[in-house]
């Protein structure tokens, strides 16, 4: 049996999906409305999963205060109310699709000292969600 603890957070942020080296027509063909030059935003819901042994003294895989503080510092302080294309350095190199947001957030969280970050799941809207899991043999 394997045990994972999930915690859910939310942050509003904006983005624009486009590649500077592509023409406006090509960007619009690939990214549709998401290529709108003025950008647009979502209320993202972020779920973070941690695994590890349960400390018998606390009954916990990880203290939620530690996890909340780490997520706040590594992710929410930067992403909350941000224009991701400009204000999150990782997105100078890649398009801030929610696939890439998952990967970037997972990488930012992977140094959590108290438990193993197993994966992240992000709901961009009520209709679509994305999940990024750690490689199975960390």
């Amino acid at each position: 049996m394997k045990l994972s603890l999930w915690r859910r957070y939310s942050f509003p942020a904006s983005h624009r999906l486009f590649r500077a080296e592509w023409s406006a027509e090509h960007n619009e063909r690939v990214f549709g409305k998401c290529a709108n030059p003025y950008s647009h935003g979502h209320n993202y819901a972020l779920e973070v999963a941690v695994t590890g042994t349960v400390d018998p003294a606390t009954g916990m895989i990880a203290n939620l205060a530690d996890l909340d503080g780490f997520v706040q510092q590594k992710v929410l302080d930067a992403f909350d109310h941000a224009y991701m294309n400009e204000q999150i350095p990782e997105f100078r190199e890649c398009v801030p699709t929610t696939e890439n947001v998952c990967r970037v957030i997972f990488q930012r969280l992977s140094g959590f000292p108290h438990a193993h970050i197993e994966g992240v799941r992000i709901e961009e809207t009520g209709k679509n969600s994305f999940e990024y899991a750690a490689p199975s043999n960390p």
Binding site: K2, L3, T58
Partner: protein, 141 residues
């Protein structure tokens, strides 16, 4: 393989306190959850069973039977109970979501005879939940 999930809700009280720690240490580690008067949650439990549908019935398992198992093993044991005082399976443990889910996995896993228990997900609140999954190789305790 097909996964079938049944969902139920139970309401229970708990608080976190480790008698081996000082009062101050308990407050530091457990925060508001250390309040000795206790507090409660509406827990939501999702129980997933995996298997192949029986060609005669089209079912992985009889959901009525699963409902009876869950009524007997979960609802009667935990609904409207104080988890620190009234659930012997949790005696000596801090009744966190992790420990409750582990106890429920160990109770339910041997009771499922059609298909096998694949996952239980226990929500303490919409923002906090725990998954127990079948994984013999990793994390077995």
């Amino acid at each position: 393989m097909i996964r079938v999930t049944r969902k139920l809700e139970f309401s229970a009280a708990h608080f976190y306190h480790n008698p081996n720690l000082s009062a101050e240490e308990n407050r530091r580690v457990f925060g508001k959850c250390n309040n000795p008067h206790g507090h409660g949650h509406n827990y939501v439990l999702e129980v997933t069973v995996a298997g192949e549908p029986d060609p005669k019935t089209g079912m992985v398992l009889d959901l009525k039977e699963l409902k009876e198992i869950l009524d007997r093993e979960v609802t009667q044991r935990m609904d409207h109970r104080h988890l620190n005082y009234e659930v012997p399976d949790l005696a000596g443990k801090i009744p966190t979501c992790e420990e409750i889910a582990t106890v429920l996995w160990r109770i339910l896993e041997p009771k499922i005879h059609q298909g096998r228990l694949d996952r239980i997900r226990l929500y303490e609140s919409p923002d906090l939940f725990v998954d127990c999954t079948a994984d013999g190789m990793k994390g077995a305790r």
